[in-house]
Symmetry: C2
Amino acid sequence: MKAAIITIGDEILIGQIVDTNSAFIAKSLDRIGVEIREMISISDDKKQILDTFSTLQDKVDIVMVTGGLGPTKDDVTKKTFCEYFNDELVVNPEVLAHVTQLIEGYFKRPITQMNKDQALVPSTCTILHNKVGTAPGMWMKKENTVFVSLPGVPYEMKYLVEEEIIPKIVREYKRPYIIHKTILTYGQGESLVAERIEQWENNLPDFIKLAYLPNPGRVRLRLTARGTDKEELEKAIEDNVQTLDAIIHDIIVGYEENETIETVIGKLLSKQNKAIATAESCTGGRIAALLSAVPGSSGYFKGGVVSYATEVKANVLGVPQNLIDQFSVVSAEVASAMALNVRSLLKTDYAIATTGNAGPSKGDSDAEIGTVFIALATPNGVITEEFNFGQPREKVIDRATVKSLEILQKEILKIV
Amino acid sequence: MKAAIITIGDEILIGQIVDTNSAFIAKSLDRIGVEIREMISISDDKKQILDTFSTLQDKVDIVMVTGGLGPTKDDVTKKTFCEYFNDELVVNPEVLAHVTQLIEGYFKRPITQMNKDQALVPSTCTILHNKVGTAPGMWMKKENTVFVSLPGVPYEMKYLVEEEIIPKIVREYKRPYIIHKTILTYGQGESLVAERIEQWENNLPDFIKLAYLPNPGRVRLRLTARGTDKEELEKAIEDNVQTLDAIIHDIIVGYEENETIETVIGKLLSKQNKAIATAESCTGGRIAALLSAVPGSSGYFKGGVVSYATEVKANVLGVPQNLIDQFSVVSAEVASAMALNVRSLLKTDYAIATTGNAGPSKGDSDAEIGTVFIALATPNGVITEEFNFGQPREKVIDRATVKSLEILQKEILKIV
């Protein structure tokens, strides 16, 4: 079964917003064995939408369309659907009742004409009920291709994909098995990883594909097996992952599809029954935000201090003023004191600290722009590393955050 | 001048990564008056790439292609370019010298064959020198359409777009004027804003288009004027923005294209010479991370405490234990004490505090999942508000962060 995804909206074409809906839809379809052939973003212009529909007609089995369905925009998409399917808009009483209930009952506002118009749908469409918003989803078929229209608001789109569309596809269509396995590695670049596993890669069977997904500081390897015999696919993936693990065991941090270094750290800390704290200067709370975004993180993440100003390092974290005067706020000595002191203050096993100069201009230190010191306090003492992440500011903060988590994960692993 | 953007990579089609490159390229082209007709993501499959090239040939003036150029992937894209342009790969000595210098001189590693192969380029292409990475950009023209190939690594792609491609287009092509103006509003939903400005919208001249870009808690309005007389466009935009400001002055927070509520807050605090601190529980450092991501934020953001665990609220922030026992950690009383105490501890003018239950399960409080208390301490006292942001966890953290910044911005504005 093949699919295409269309996103409608000028805001995407001028780059004002990044399209995250397509990735969500793709991941959901991929998981049930639907192959996504292409993703297309176009203007909310009737002619361009119709042209794109015609191009995809009978080439794919399902076309998922998002955007162009907000209260101020739904006209174009809905009218275009009517034209493509030679249909007309009619009021759907169930949708009208739902919209009225939501606006008057929940938001306690008088219903407006614009709200009421959201209940206008093509007469022959199958309605996908949107319990979390006012714009319904619509499912219409022409010859061999289904066209599904979804609201562009991410929470509403996600609800309809998960609760309505995926179950409907699973019920109504036959699909092959697609099995993915992701291997998350940290600390080596794409070309170095590629060299190390070249021979293993060349020995992969034809039905398994390997992809490299590089990010600053980490590379995800993704294996994809496609076929009809689920057990055979699973066994082949498992065997090849084992062989791979033997080759690059030193840089592998996890295997879960949605795993990140912060979820891996969370699992390790939970298992060891250990707690962590943070003392952040140049990363400004980013490390704490990543650690605490993991569900269940209250079990091991106690909190931290964002000591952005030099005086906060002294007054709240108790970094001695003479240390700051002697070595400057951006130094191994200050990073080390921050980590040790926040560990004592919050009574944790581990503590990670950052201090650096993210730029674009210098702050309370003469350290070169891009310089970052990372310190990790553990039950056995403190380790400190110095980096220069260059520029821009955003990259320095990103890299310092990722590197801190990498140092932490490596250290925790030693203790397991 | 018309453009299309192609992103190549299976990792995008299965939804494993979100394509942010297209938005960056689109924004850069849009700014110099190039109209983006469509964005397409396809598989790294030679036939599909060739088909997509053919579809766009002579329909647009320039096709920007990203992805498929990393050391492990460049084969497919480069070989496809050769086939489409009936060309062959040759070693480019300048690129080879650059790659060698980067690997051996900067990374201090022996150069591998995979590294050397990055210097293989189609013989007739114009090289776009990539100073920040090993894969060069390539510029090739067939009939009326230019095809540009760029590496998929964001920092490298950005460098080539900004330093090579945009200047080249500006030198070599004529383009109309496109002027955008963004109006950032907070606190009212899309349909309510639309109702309020309906009459104004209907009176806009034909050459000005209005777009609504809704996000949870905020709506961006974007005006786009297109034409040949730059001064006329600018005047029309300015006049219409003034009329709009008179209608919805109460919800407008800024006008800059890349403005966010945290940059607006930064400007206000700098102007007033005031400082801010944070005390975060359920938002886990996210507010601090957003405030500190703004260049120059060290001028007004002193830092904060991430008091994720209840004991940190008591021990570090000094929230009285009896207050916690009596009202629970998720309460207006605790939020208020957190804000007041972090304001004293860090000696700032303002302090924002959050405490809540982000879910998916309950923590140290019986408060309903989704409940968040936000407190703002100011020179005049403290204000507290209660919210329920529902689920999932990610939404609660997002909404609590945005709402905190909104409360802060409204309060600072009162003092201006």
